[in-house]
Symmetry: C2
Subunit: 249 residues, 2 copies
DNA sequence: CACCCCCCTTGACGGGGATCAAGCGGCCCG
DNA sequence: CGGGCCGCTTGATCCCCGTCAAGGGGGGTG
C-alpha cells in the first residue's frame, strides 16, 4: 500500500499533481495536445485528496465546489430517499469524473463513498469554468464528459426499465470487464469492490437474487465466483444473455 | 392551432426567433440579464423547426449538430436496444432542452419524437460553445442545464431501482403536475400526451399495470381519469403513496 | 358522418423475484 | 491467532406484476 504522507505544497507537490505527468490523463483530459497546451492544464487540479475505504468524498446536500477525478481506488454514488433508503446510482474507477451532479443546484445531490482506499484529484469548479472559457479543447472535453454521464445514466434506465434480473447482471459484468480492460487490468479476472447488496441496489434487485444469479452463471459455465473474486469464462455467452432474454419478453 | 407558414429569413424571422422577446426565456436561458446581455443571446438560435405529432426531431445514431429548446409541444425520448425494443427515457415540455445526449460522441444516442404538434428552437452546438466561451452567464447556465439532466436521470434510476409500481406512477403524476405548474398550466387538471404503453415503458411496467393503477388511484379518491384526461384530487395523498410504500419494503 | 383502428380497461392466471429463514465462511480486529 | 461479525449462499414460500385474452370506446380519417 502507498504511503499516506502529504508533503507541504511546493515544487514537489506541484509536480506530483501535474496532469501533464499523469498516466491517467488520456482518461480525464482531452487528447492530442502538445506540451505547451498540456502545461495549461496543470493548474486545473488544486490538490489531491485521499479517501479511506468507507469514508465519503462528499455527501448529498453538501455545497458544491469542485469536481474530482479518480486517481486510484473505487467509489459508489448513492442517493438517499426521504425515508432513508439508499439507492446506488453508479460505480466509479480510475480516470472517471465525480461530482457533476452538484453543478445544477450548487449542492451535491448524491453521496460519494470510497469502496477501497482511494485518491482523487480536486478540480475547483470555478477553475474548470475559467479554463474552459480560455481553452477550447478543455471546454469541448468537459462538455463531452458531462454528456457521456447523461448517456450512461440513460443506459442504466434502459437496464432497469426493460431487462430482467439475469440480463441486468450479465450486462453489469460485461460493462465492468470493459471498463477494467480500458484501464489496463485483466478483462477476465477481477475483484468486486462492492457487496452483493450494493450490486443489487444498483441493478434494482435484492442481494439474494444477485447471489443466486452468480451461482447460476457459474453452473452455466459463464463465470467462476468465489465471494468477491470473479473470473469471466465466456464473455460472449454473457453478452448473449443480455441480448437473448430481451427477445423472450 | 397556429399557422404553419414559414417566412423567408429576414428581419421578421430574426425578430420572431429573438430569445430576448420570448416568454419562455427564463426557462431556457440565464436570468437576471440586462437588455444588452440579452441581445447577445439572440444569435444563439439559428432558426425554429416544427415537428408534427409522430415525427422525430432526430434519431439515435444520427450525427449531432445542435441542441433544441422546446417552444411548445411535447416530446418523448427513446432508446432502442439491439433487438429493437424501445425504452422511453424521458418526456419533455416547453422550455426544456433536447439533444444533450449527442455531445459526448458527436452522435445522438436516443430518438426524440413529438407526441403532439410541436416547435423547437434550433441552437447550433458550435454557436453554443462559442458564446459560452465569451459570455460567462451562458456558460454557467449551460453547465447547470447539463447537470440537471444528470440529476433528473438519477432520480429516475432511484424510481426504477427501488420503488414499487404504484409508487412510481404516483411519483410520475406528481412530477408532471409540478412541471406543468411551473409553466403556468393547471396543477390539478391536464391531458396526458403519451399512451399507457409509453408511461409504462418509462416507469418500467406494462401498460396493463399502468391502467390498473390509474383505476385504483381513482377508487382511492386520489385522481379522476378518463382516457388521457387526468384530474388530481389529492396531491398530498399521491405524495404519501410515493413515500409510504418505501417503508413497506 | 360513419367506419375503423388504436388505445384503454378489466379479468384470469402464472412466474420471476422478493421475503423470510438458516447456516456457513472470510476477514478484520483485538 | 482466535473470536465474532459481516457478507454470502441456499432453500421454502408468497405475491406483485407480467402475460394472455376479450371487449369497449374515442378520435382521426376517408
Amino acid at each position: 500500500m502507498r504511503t499516506m504522507n502529504e508533503p507541504a505544497l511546493g515544487t514537489l507537490a506541484r509536480l506530483r499533481t501535474a496532469c501533464s505527468q499523469c498516466s491517467l490523463r488520456e482518461l480525464c483530459l482531452p487528447v492530442g495536445l502538445d506540451a505547451s497546451e498540456l502545461a495549461t492544464l496543470d493548474t486545473l487540479v488544486s490538490t489531491r485528496r485521499k479517501v479511506r475505504r468507507g469514508d465519503s468524498l462528499f455527501y448529498g446536500g453538501e455545497p458544491f465546489s469542485a469536481l474530482y477525478a479518480v486517481r486510484f481506488g473505487f467509489f459508489k454514488s448513492t442517493l438517499t430517499s426521504g425515508d432513508g433508503r439508499e439507492q446506488v446510482t453508479g460505480f466509479y474507477m480510475a480516470g472517471e469524473i465525480l461530482g457533476m451532479d452538484g453543478i445544477g443546484a450548487d449542492r451535491h445531490t448524491c453521496t460519494l463513498t470510497a469502496l477501497e482506499d482511494s485518491e482523487v484529484c480536486v478540480m475547483p469548479f470555478a477553475r474548470v469554468e475559467d479554463l474552459s472559457r480560455s481553452f477550447e479543447p478543455l471546454q469541448r472535453h468537459f462538455h463531452k464528459v458531462l454528456s457521456r454521464e447523461i448517456v450512461r445514466d440513460q443506459g442504466v434506465m434502459m437496464l432497469l426499465g426493460s431487462m430482467r434480473a439475469e440480463e441486468r447482471l450479465a450486462a453489469f459484468l460485461v460493462n465492468l470487464s470493459q471498463r477494467l480492460t480500458a484501464r489496463g487490468f485483466s478483462a477476465s479476472e477481477f475483484v468486486l469492490r462492492m457487496t452483493r447488496d450494493e450490486i443489487g441496489s444498483y441493478l434494482g434487485m435484492k442481494l439474494e437474487t444477485v447471489s443466486r444469479l452468480f451461482s447460476r452463471f457459474q453452473e452455466d459455465g459463464l463465470i467462476e465466483v468465489h465471494q468477491k473474486h470473479v473470473r469471466i469464462l465466456d464473455i460472449a455467452g454473457l453478452k448473449r444473455v443480455t441480448a437473448q432474454a430481451q427477445n423472450a419478453s
